[in-house]
Amino acid sequence: MSTFAEYAISALLLVGGAFTLIGAIGLARLPDFYTRLHGPTKATTVGVGAIVVSSVIYFSTLGRGIGVEEILITAFLFMTAPVSANFLAKAAMHLEVKTTENTRGQTWDQ
């Protein structure tokens, strides 16, 4: 396995792990539901995406072909993450989940 590949894989892994963790931290410590929504939709998605890509490279360098499963997974995540976020946001607004005091603007009533 070429050292470049090794670097790339390790880097992607670490970046992915980091983003996943950050997304989770966001989910854990941000003040209200709407702000928490941002962590998973972006960071986590990207993080997992990176890890999956690293898997693609890893196995292709092992000569096990290009994993289309990984690609499907990534595509799927990027397609669905916003939808879930949107849908959850609507649910939250419907349930009149409280926003932090410093939130500007209004939610819509469902």
Partner: protein
Amino acid sequence: MSLPLVVLLPFLGAVAAPLFAQGGRTAIAVASSVPALIALAALFPHWETLADGGVVLHSYEWLPAMGLSFSFRLDGLSLLFALLILIIGLLIILYARYYLKAYENVGKFYALLLCFKGSMLGIVLSSNLLLMMIFWELTSLTSFLLISFWTHKQDARRGARMALAVTGGGGLALLAGILIIGNIVGSFELDDVLAAGDQIKAHAMYPVALTLVLLGAFTKSAQFPFHFWLPHAMQAPTPVSAYLHSATMVKAGIFLMARLYPALAGTEQWFYMVSFTGMATLLIGAYVAMFKHDLKGLLAHSTVSHLGLITLLFGMGTQLAAVAAVFHVINHAIFKASLFMAAGIIDHETGTRDMRRINGLWRYMPHTATLAMVAASSMAGVPLLNGFLSKEMFFAESLELNLPGLIAWLPPIVATLAGIFAVAYSARFIHDVFFNGKPVDLPIYPPHEPPRYMKIPVEILVFACIMVGLFPAVAVGPLLFLAASATLGGEVPEYTLAIFHGFNLPLFMSFVAFFGGLLMYSQRQRFFDFHARFREIDEKAVFENIVLRIVDLANSVTARLENGSLQRYALLLLVSVIAVAAMPLLDLGIFVGENGLSPVDAPTAIAAAVLILCAFATAGLHRQRFYALVLLSVVGLVVALAFARFSAPDLAMTQLSVEVVTIVLLMLAIYYMHPWTPVETPLKRRVRDIAIAGVAGIGMTLVTLAMLTQPFSSISEFFLANSKPGGGGTNVVNVILVDFRGFDTLGEITVLAIAALGIYAMLKDTALTPPPSDGAGHAWARDAHPLMLSLIARPMLPLALMVSAFIFLRGHNLPGGGFIAGLITSIALILQYIASGMEWTEDRIRLRYHNVIGLGLLFATVAGLGSFAFGYPFLTSTFDYITWPVVGKFEVASALIFDLGVYLAVIGATLLSLVTVGRLSPHSAIRPKQEGA
């Protein structure tokens, strides 16, 4: 052949008789008497054999394994009883012809009567104790139906049930006794049993056997303290009571004692049990009879008393006593039958049986009166009548008992006392009915003589009384001799059937009895006053109360145990499981097998911790139902991860897809339920449940620990070795599912299919109204199908289908297979339902899920049946590598068709279930917005 015929005929008659019911009472009466006549004719030729001291045996093999055979036996004893049953039976039939009203169900009556007669004949003629047992219980049953013939009468029903309970119950005791005897002797054949008398008496189980047999006999022949059922049996139509009291039913018990006399009698136990029971019965019966105002009541208690007398005689154990007993059986049968018929006539003509109202009938029905008076005198033991002879013998025997000290005087005194009472109540029967002033407002007035033919039976019997009384030796001598010898098993003692034995103690006792009785009757008022001090107990009421008491008790016990609480039942089940598993697991303890523990990696440990935490959280927070669901899905997810972590990709995928479907289903459900569970069970119960749950958990932990650390080898080596060569696939799990154990999978998809069909059937016409708002009071949103979701959902379907195809096709060699593919397709479709609604979706996929299910099962089955063609068993898979031009080399496996069946069944079942539940929704008719856009 003739003996079985004798027994069988009445039953055939019972079937035939009702057919003559249309022809009127005479026709049916004639028809019903045919069997008896044939029977008598059939018995007659055997007289010679018996006279020469022989025995007629007709035996046919039936169930040797059980010791039960169709064997019948005619000897003196059985002949005597058979004749009584048949002849008196005939008279009863004739009598009943006039007794019954035209509108009554004569067909039923004669049918039952004949069945009863057949059963009685069965008892006396069987030569196999088990066979006799069968007829014994049959008499209980048939008499039950006869006594309750007038089902509209409460007393009749109660009396019948009481009779059944007592005699049927006694029968069960007798059964036990007979089984023990058969066990001792090693055969139920009468000859063997009678021959093995000493062996039986020597056996340790003899007392038990004796007690049980006597229980049977005493209950049947109404011995104290089981006598109470008999008087209430007179609720039956008079012909029946006449029959039951004189020749049959009650005589069955007596017959049994006579029959088994050689086998059981002649021991201390026998003597005390039988004679003292007899004595008590004799006295009590006689005493109570005195005070009955009901004509039949008086007779019934006199029957009890006379049965006691006979029992006492058998109990004495001397041979002469036995002879006397047999003799009294004959006499009592004759006079008691005639008396009952007379009573019946009086009842029939006056409309009442109350002696306080019936007076001075002499003036109205002198003929009947004469007959009744003769019979009654015989009952009283007046000289020159048959009753006198046997009673005289009885007195004599009562003196022969060599009992220690003063007790020696007990039998004669009791005998005389009973004699006095007998005379008294007989006197009352004569005087209080036929003289004693004028009748008191009779329902039918003026009474007059009954139809001519109704008296003939009585006349015949009374004539017999006199004949036997005057010329005993001629009239019954031979028969009595035969019967006695049969009873005693051969040797018969010296006895003379003379009217006069000279002036001796027995004669003196008779005089005392006679004049004492008359004196007592003349002073009756004193006795009535005395007797009136004790309040009469109505046994029927007592019995009924006891039964009701038992029923109530049973009711409350049942209600306490079977209290309709699932929590209770589940608790019992779980506790039972724990209880039985506890002992072995306790000797197991905390055991780590020789394989020891393997190291844990941090992520696994953390995942496990998360799972445990969430599992407990689910249990702890289950009251917030939605919360519980979220936690549950975390658990499910981690379980799936565990499967992946421990080398089970197929399981991981299955678990994932099944879990999400389950969650969706549960969410469909809680929509209609309260969003939270109320606190109901008291803390104490919850603590108890926690304890039980804890024990269960610990138990499972210990077992798992021990199990996982034990060395292990299994049949799976075979699967790993043969999966590719034999099953044509490298995914061993899948090959097991579709090939090695394909039959399990067939069953599994059948379960899935049935569940879906059952769910469909169960909700077909169920209506549920969901709460208008969620727990926090937010009304549900109007917008059913948000734009983005429905847009994203659609492109997913084709992709999902392709993925399913992919997963399906590779399943035989790589993780996947029909089941998972099916679930993916289902999920994709469910997503459409969620995103765009039912109506919209079903417009686009026209599938009748029932058919999809059926198709799935069909494919799987047919795939299995294919192998029949090649002579291979069901589900034998074949596979081959085919090469086609463009396509190239590829594998075709019959297992793939089977897997296709699985695929379809899963889709059909999953969607049918979810859609069925979805249909409950009141919105399910609303058309989604997208239609417009």
